[in-house]
């Protein structure tokens, strides 16, 4: 995409920048962000933010990548809020970002690739120019390859297709012992007590967010699914995981829960809340039925 296309109207440009050296990173960022009127934003390591600020001055809005990339759903919300409050009031936003890939599990990496794809949906038709830096020296091959699928240019895939392909990977096996409970209409109060009790026994201090998330999914199954489901919970000592299974109805996952609810637009916002409250949410065809997997950290230190 050219600057001309960009100036023609409200259009998202979402590009990937593979780089092989520090100097390349800083140079590309400085050139990209060199503009006097657009909002200019950098999201990277603290060290690199300092280098960029040296070049661009105090007008550059800086964010430490380690805190910016919380969970995919929350980061999306934060970005939309920031764009609405601080960036688009300028007219256009130029965002130079290095996503965080290190220290992530395979599951997390898949969900953060999905995040890149979702930017194409959530920010479409907005005056936003995203440039995402990818370190060709350090990142796994699949991360580099999939960058081409989620960024404008050769190999770009329609977001719905990429999103669906993320859902073809089966969920990892449950780790025993597993606490199990069936539920149907009218049984949500006892299901909530069960979740609070079991999660508490795993060491989760504040159980209400998980209770709310499980309640929303269970409500979804009761109201929009087959009317009854199964809950399975377990913990690996670092996080608690809940699988909610509707073994009959198939729930179509088209970016489900990534768009925030509007109080004036129909659509409950239940799945949106689930994605905000949990660290990760995975939805899969259960053959038959649908399974929703919710991940929530217990807040213990992670192993290195």
């Amino acid at each position: 995409m050219t600057a001309a296309a960009f100036t023609r109207g409200e259009v998202l440009v979402h590009q990937a920048l593979p780089y092989g050296s520090e100097a390349e990173f800083v140079k590309a960022g400085s050139v990209f962000l060199d503009d006097d009127t657009d909002a200019i934003v950098a999201i990277a390591s603290v060290y690199r933010l300092a280098l960029l600020r040296e070049q661009l001055g105090d007008r550059l809005e800086c964010h430490d990548a380690t805190t910016w990339f919380e969970t995919p759903a929350r980061t999306l919300s934060t970005m939309v809020a920031a764009a609405r409050e601080r960036w688009w009031p300028h007219g256009r936003a130029r965002v130079f970002v290095e996503p965080l890939w290190t220290g992530r599990t395979r599951t997390e990496i898949r969900e953060w690739k999905r995040f890149e794809c979702l930017l194409n949906v959530v920010f479409s038709e907005t005056p936003t120019w995203l440039l995402c830096a990818y370190d060709t020296r350090r990142l796994p091959g699949d991360v580099l390859r999939d960058a081409a699928r989620t960024h404008h240019g050769d190999g770009y895939e329609h977001p719905a297709d990429f999103y669906a392909s993320c859902n073809t990977t089966p969920l990892t096996p449950q780790i025993g012992p597993v606490s199990h409970r069936g539920f149907m209409r009218g049984e949500l109060p006892s299901l909530r007590s069960f979740v609070a009790r079991v999660a508490g026994s795993y060491g989760l201090h504040s159980t209400m967010p998980l209770v709310m998330a499980v309640n929303e999914v269970a409500t979804n199954i009761i109201v929009h699914g087959s009317g009854r489901g199964q809950l399975m919970m377990w913990s690996d000592g670092f996080k608690v995981v809940c699988d909610l299974l509707d073994d009959n109805a198939v729930l179509e996952d088209h970016f489900l829960g990534f768009i925030p609810p509007s109080p004036d637009r129909p659509g409950g916002g239940g799945m949106w809340a689930v994605r905000q409250l949990c660290d990760l949410v995975e939805i899969r065809d259960a053959h038959p039925g649908t399974v929703f997997r919710l991940h929530l950290s217990l807040g213990n230190l992670q192993e290195c």
Partner: protein, 279 residues
Amino acid sequence: MKFGDHLCLPYDNHDERNAVLAAFVHDGLAQGHKVVYVSDGQSAESVLGWLGDDFTEAVERDDLVIQTAEEAYMATGSFDPDEIVKLFGTELELAMIQGHKGLRLTCEKKFSLRGWPGSERFAEFEEKIEFIFQNMPVNAMALCQYDTRWFGRRPLEHLLGVHQRGNVRVDDVYDDGVLRIAPTFTPPGLALHGAVEESTFPALLRALADLGDETGHLCLDLAGLEFCDMAGLRTIIGSRTTDEGRERQILLRNPRREILDLLSMAGWEQLPGVFVEEN
């Protein structure tokens, strides 16, 4: 309420008092009871003014008697608990002779603060009435109205404590063991206790719809709301528009931490017309 009840109604706003008393009088007349209303000083016309015109006929038939405390209790020039207890017995007999099924008494107790001779024995009077109700089967019930804005804290605690069966309060709008909805009066609205979720959602919708759209302010007291799902939260926030499309302000009173967090997450507590009150 039923025969043998000696209950108190502490209140700090007339809307709540009026609602409870209107129901008390209405139910009594409907059940064939004689109703005696002793006011602090207001005339019968004045009381009927807020009780409702439907009760005028009842007054004419002598099914509803409205007196001032002075008329009822100060005939001898002094407040004498024993005399008044005897009077109560006479009133009850009279009611039965007149063909009523029993007697409903209600009294605005503010008169006891006027310093009338003998009124220092007022607590003794309440205790004697309580004794009768506890120990004898009577076809009567008494509802003692205490305007809490007038009484000192300690005397009030003692007087309310004399009524061992406890308080009267306005009927709940809904209660199914999971969600209880009660009316609020200042400002008008609903108090939610328990959980708003899939099974109780229709009751919340109904209760909000029944409020109509007369008021420009709506209070939703959430102190007792332990759990609320997203559909419920949307509905609560959505109540800032009435069914007929009118805008109104909504006051969310004392939402719990988790509910407030959910609202903030969605950005809904900042919407125009939404106010959060925490005290």
